[in-house]
């Protein structure tokens, strides 16, 4: 199924990576408490240089791979094969914040929902870290994570069933009605009055909607991030390459976004090193192995 091609593809890729031990050991209870600063190849990911030019539309597409903060969180959880009930809040919060910081660092105007979620996660985190007060009957015995877990589960049910519904046979996609042309008889009844205003309003509506379709056409490019990661890794193992050389303009915006996602994912996994020499110069991407040696 193509629905959510970008996010789905990436999640799948991430699972594959986890299976190969790329992502690292699954988080344990011990890992939860470690508040290490997220560093990638020696520098925090949020410090991507400001002149790494990414078309604003491309960022929008990146974020549109997710249907909001709950979807992004589910992705972060699922890609590590964690049961929702065992959410390592500290770790997930960190990862979430990192994505948000990345977005903000790239001057993307984040939807308010993402920031609300960030604030909520921060609150949950602080409550988890605080020593638990002695239990008093009926006095807020609930784990601070409970509401988050409930909302994630509730959202996931609908996300899943939406995919099932999309897979149902649908008229004009999977099956078709049988028609034969028939002479159009003269209509006897008086036609309803045609109002110019209604007509123009209808046109206004349809054009507004058409814009949305164009938009979706962009996000629906079925391009695989994981495939691109392999390709880029292969390319930079042969020698450092500038960012531009790893994007093929013929693939359009979606292709560039996939390349960007692939590079970010490689950086996150510590497989790739981003350099910039001199300041404000071109971004050079090198394999992490080469950088270490």
């Amino acid at each position: 199924m193509q629905s959510g091609a970008l996010a789905g593809g990436e999640a799948e890729a991430a699972n594959a990576a986890a299976a190969h031990g790329v992502v690292g050991a699954p988080p344990t209870a011990g890992a939860v408490g470690e508040a290490h600063v997220p560093k990638v190849a020696g520098r925090p990911l949020v410090e991507l240089p400001a002149d790494l030019y990414i078309p604003p539309d491309a960022l929008e597409v990146f974020l549109e791979a997710f249907e909001g903060p709950l979807d992004l969180l589910l992705y972060l959880i699922r890609k590590q094969n964690i049961d929702i009930l065992d959410i390592p809040v500290l770790q997930i919060t960190q990862q979430y914040m990192r994505y948000i910081a990345l977005m903000e660092g790239l001057r993307f105007d984040l939807a308010a929902e993402y920031l609300v979620m960030a604030a909520w996660l921060a609150e949950i985190k602080s409550r988890v870290l605080l020593p638990r007060p002695p239990v008093v009957e009926d006095d807020e015995p609930e784990d601070p994570r409970a509401e988050l877990v409930r909302r994630l589960q509730e959202y996931e049910r609908f996300k899943t069933v939406a995919e099932t519904i999309d897979a149902l046979p649908r008229q004009a996609r999977d099956f078709w009605l049988a028609h034969a042309s028939a002479a159009v008889p003269d209509v006897e009844a008086e036609p309803p009055p045609l109002e110019l205003r209604a007509l123009l309003l209808a046109f206004h509506d349809v054009l507004a909607r058409a814009e949305m379709y164009v938009h979706h056409a962009v996000t629906r490019e079925p391009l695989s991030v994981r495939e691109r990661m392999a390709h880029i890794l292969e390319r930079i193992t042969a020698g450092p390459a500038p960012f531009a050389a790893l994007c093929d303009p013929r693939e359009g915006r979606a292709g560039i976004v996939v390349a960007l996602l692939a590079i970010l994912e490689l950086a996150r996994e510590g497989l790739l090193d981003v350099r910039q020499e001199p300041p404000f110069g071109a971004l050079i991407l090198a394999s992490a192995d080469a950088a270490a040696s």
Partner: protein, 249 residues
């Protein structure tokens, strides 16, 4: 099409099929046969036709045509079509003719450029309307954790998959949305019950218990009654209690 043009086509057809003019009488006899008249109506229209509609259309002279006769004619039409590419199918809106699914690969080649993909936003919104109807946009947004755009709602309305059932009696009187017969027709279904069930991850009582156990909370939390606890089967359209009856669809 003008009738003159039709006559020309008719002649061309006769010529093409190598048929003589003698066909006309046989044709008149055909028109009498109820299963052919039903077939003609279903081929010419776009919408399924119910038994009642068929009765009204076919019994214009009130000659006392009965439902049972229509049903029998439908059965014999279905039987006759077994050797062809179309089939008679009953969906929510009534009876219709559709091309058998095994020919879909051929037809997909014919329609290669059709827009058919639905966005995730649209699918998730639709899913919430199916399983939570009557539901407001705000309630949909609460579950999805993100705003539902006006264009998403408008597209669902324009497809006639969703309709406004009424308005909720709270400040702002938000619209209550529900699904249409058209949605079921387009999915080839007769009733909402035929839609897949909403996955039961864990029911909420279990979830609370599991949470309490996993998260090490002492003392089982009083289970929080959630609006989601109500039946999660796709809801029948009749169940629109709470809908302002004066503002019906």
């Amino acid at each position: 099409m003008a009738s003159a043009e039709l006559a020309v086509n008719q002649r061309q057809a006769d010529a093409a099929a190598g048929r003589g003019a003698s066909r006309t009488n046989a044709g008149d006899a055909l028109a009498q046969r109820l299963d052919c008249r039903i077939e003609a109506l279903l081929l010419a229209g776009d919408e399924p036709l119910s038994i009642d509609q068929l009765l009204r259309l076919l019994d214009a002279g009130s000659s006392g045509l009965e439902r049972a006769t229509i049903r029998a004619a439908l059965a014999s039409l279905g039987e006759r079509l077994r050797v062809g590419a179309s089939e008679l199918v009953e969906v929510a809106g009534g009876w219709r003719l559709q091309v058998r699914a095994q020919f879909s690969p051929d037809i997909a080649r014919l329609w290669e450029e059709r827009p058919s993909k639905l966005s995730r936003a649209m699918l998730e919104t639709l899913a919430l309307i199916i399983y939570r109807q009557p539901v407001t946009r705000g309630e949909i947004e609460q579950v999805r954790g993100v705003a539902v755009s006006t264009s998403t709602m408008n597209t669902l309305l324009a497809r006639d998959w969703v309709k406004v059932l009424g308005h909720k009696e709270v400040p702002g009187r938000p619209a209550l949305y529900g699904t249409t017969t058209r949605l079921l027709d387009d999915l080839g279904l007769k009733t909402l019950d035929q839609l897949p069930e909403l996955p039961q991850v864990q029911d909420l009582a279990q979830l609370d218990a599991a949470l309490a156990a996993r998260l090490g909370v002492v003392g089982v939390a009083p289970s929080v009654p959630s609006p989601a606890a109500a039946a999660d089967a796709p809801r029948a359209e009749q169940r629109t209690s709470g809908v302002d009856p004066t503002v019906g669809p």
